[in-house]
Assembly symmetry: C2
Homo-oligomer: 461 residues x 2
């Protein structure tokens, strides 16, 4: 098989087209409905070969389309988003955020790597297939949302209401990012997430630290005790039951992680730290990929004035690994916190809704095998790394629950490309590498040893 | 001796006059220079019998005046302030803050009890003496500042530059407040104050709690450990050396405090608490009056989003008692905090400038004896309580250092009159009680067994 998609000769034309898309300031948090619709319409037009259309929802519209001309072949759902993060401080941008600017090997602009560039790759691959072969190698449904950067508030309802229409054997996400630029990688898991507040309250109002100091319990003292008690000195989470259900890390997995080239000193230096720290008994990469965490994200209490604050609140988040159940983790933390009897204050634990379990796709899944081969084809001199996304991707759990389908992350963004930050960029070479990889991936999923087995949608399941 | 100052017949006229003063919104934090000068000029006009004048300083002007027509008699310096606190939320005020409104037994308005009403009392007493007797019983210098509510930033320099001109045998402050409305009280001590920040820093920037969680020390965890370690479980401050220099509480003083009628249950209920808490081995009133405290006033760190904050800061204040030296207390806390080796973070302690030692005036001082007798004269059926101001009054240390004079607090404000809060008020009866008490106090200090001994200013010291 020859690579039909020769990107090099048309780089400039592609960049011009992508620039039009980046120019739409589709900041889901702030933009007008009209601006969001402009971005959605740009996408729908690109999907004309697949009946592309803008579909109204309770929030910013979604863009849908489908090409179903391969009867008997597997069906995939391609997911991505057209909204972008706010620019942040414009003074920190070296070039205007909504003008695509080429700077050496990279192109810079808000959204270029999250997620406009990666989505653009899929569009161009699909269009090239249609132009050059008159067909795609498999059935493809497209779903692009406009609210990913604000937590996809309307996606669950939309998915549930259109579950039949969106049925697919696999979801492939054009969102996500490769772990680092030094080698190709695939994510085989992402961590779950639960968040909660611990609130300690004392008197009805803030009290003058002189007129009342020493006679009443100080909620900040009490909260500090609670927070200090969440971890043992060796970095383990000290909450009974927190680690329940987690299988022990196998020697095989330890060996695989140990084999990943990872420079701890550089990681430490890049963060501006004197030393790393974490749960005893695990390496940094093991902690990042395989172990759950409990982090205090912030404390809100009083200020720089002489009061005894009447309330002190901490926000806490836990990243979960397979085996942990969100509601059980929240309960264990609640029990642990409330078991500490601190005189003179009231303690409340307020779990947030929407806990997300960890997500995994087996390393032996056809999608991982096909994707590995596709990447090996494009990057022949490099091993493909099976990595874990230590962040949380709520859509994966949602797709699994509603569509019964696993999600393959196949983005050509890289985690170091200033996602969500000023001067967001994407490596230009990733465009053509991405197109070649998607082409190969689709062919592999359609036919051959990694052909996707149908999971639903045609009545065979 | 007969009370010459019969206030009752002229209540209404007095209230009208005070209303003009309250109507000037002399909020030192926000007001224009012109507004502040209007308030100062009102005061200077009231002091026409004493050469009243507005004196420019680096900040808002001071008001000065002196009546020195009693050669051989003692000299006192009357201190007060004409600035007021901001109103806060206007919606919380039941009546317009800058209109003096009579409401039953009280008069309401911003500044009415802090410090416009209490200063008004002194002015009227002095004017009545001049009108009725043609003289004051002793030499009186007046010093009213316009920056008390913003920490008196220019008072120290003004005092030092005019120390000779302000020399007096005693300072009497018309600022301050009686402890509670149930009986007359005098303050024989106030606590000192030191403040500091503890800052714990980690990575160069906030880190995503997923992408980095579990691999680096979290500054909020570390700060919580430090803060939790500042106290022992029994409420004692766990900092070595914190209590150094404090004499043991005598049985006599314990007995005197135990004899003060103090309803702990009501104190607790008024604060909306289920229980009180403090240093083991001391009663609530002992903790408030006789023991130093260390309170965390606030914590600033991250927020309600999934990051590992790169820095977490706590603001801490300590109220000091006699025997403690501010710089030693700060050093002890610094040593204690820095001795805790927490891996992976940097810890800094930043003491604020301007530590204030505790202040005391002996119970046997002629000023306390005379003031006790003056209060007993006005409130014949009640014991006069010798109380401690658990807050800090930096001016007292300043007057002692610069003028060599003790300060007597003789205000007819009461601590429950919403000082600094919406709906500030003052009990109307306090006006006439205050005038009768000041009259008696001045006569007693001028002549008789409590006559003030000269401390300086006439070369005898």
């Amino acid at each position: 098989m020859v690579d039909m998609l020769s990107f090099d000769s048309t780089d400039a034309a592609y960049l011009d087209e992508l620039a039009d898309y980046v120019a739409v300031p589709s900041v889901s948090r702030d933009a007008t409905a009209e601006t969001m619709r402009t971005a959605a319409q740009w996408l729908a037009a690109q999907l004309s070969f697949a009946g592309g259309r803008v579909v109204d929802t309770a929030g910013h519209p979604v863009v849908r389309g489908e090409w179903l001309g391969a009867p008997g072949a597997p069906t995939i759902l391609v997911y991505g988003h057209y909204d972008v993060q706010p620019t942040g401080d414009l003074a920190e941008w070296r070039t205007p955020p909504f003008e695509l600017r080429v700077d050496g090997d990279v192109m810079r602009g808000r959204g270029v790597t999250d997620d406009k560039g990666p989505v653009f790759i899929v569009l161009k691959v699909a269009q090239a297939f249609i132009e050059q072969e008159g067909a795609l190698p498999l059935n493809v449904k497209f779903l692009f949302e406009g609210e990913e950067e604000i937590g996809s508030p309307h996606l669950p309802a939309y998915l549930r209401e259109h579950a039949d229409e969106l049925a697919a054997d696999l979801v492939i996400s054009a969102d996500g990012a490769m772990w680092r630029p030094s080698e190709p990688s695939l994510s085989i898991a992402s961590k779950g997430l639960v968040t909660l507040d611990v609130e300690v309250s004392g008197a009805a109002t803030d009290l003058h630290s002189g007129r009342y100091g020493g006679t009443v319990a100080n909620p900040v003292h009490a909260l500090s005790e609670i927070l200090a008690g969440l971890h043992a000195a060796d970095g383990r989470v000290a909450v009974d039951g927190f680690y329940d259900g987690i299988p022990e890390l196998s020697d095989e997995r330890r060996a695989a992680i140990a084999a990943v080239p990872f420079d701890e000193d550089r990681y430490r230096d890049d963060l501006g730290l004197d030393g790393l720290f974490g749960e005893a008994g695990y390496s940094t990469l093991e902690r990042l990929w395989e172990r759950p965490t409990l982090e205090i994200n912030g404390v809100l209490a009083g200020g720089k004035y002489t009061v005894i604050p009447h309330v002190a609140t901490a926000h806490i988040s836990c990243r979960l690994v397979p085996g942990q159940r969100p509601e059980r983790v929240l309960q264990a933390i609640t029990d642990h916190v409330l078991a500490q009897k601190i005189p003179g204050v009231r303690v409340a634990v307020r779990p947030d809704k929407g806990g997300v379990p960890a997500y995994t796709i087996p390393a032996g899944h056809p999608a991982i095998r096909a994707a590995t081969e596709a990447l090996a084809h494009v990057y022949p001199d490099q091993d493909v790394l099976l990595a874990v996304i230590a962040g949380t991707l709520p859509a994966t759990a949602l797709f699994e629950e509603v569509l019964g389908a696993k999600t393959l992350f196949f983005s050509f963004s890289t985690a170091d490309e200033n996602l969500h930050a000023p001067n967001e960029f994407m490596r230009i070479s990733r465009l053509r590498e991405g197109m070649r990889a998607w082409e190969r991936l689709w062919r592999l999923l359609a036919d051959g040893p990694h052909r996707l087995a149908p999971v639903r949608g045609d009545g065979t399941r």
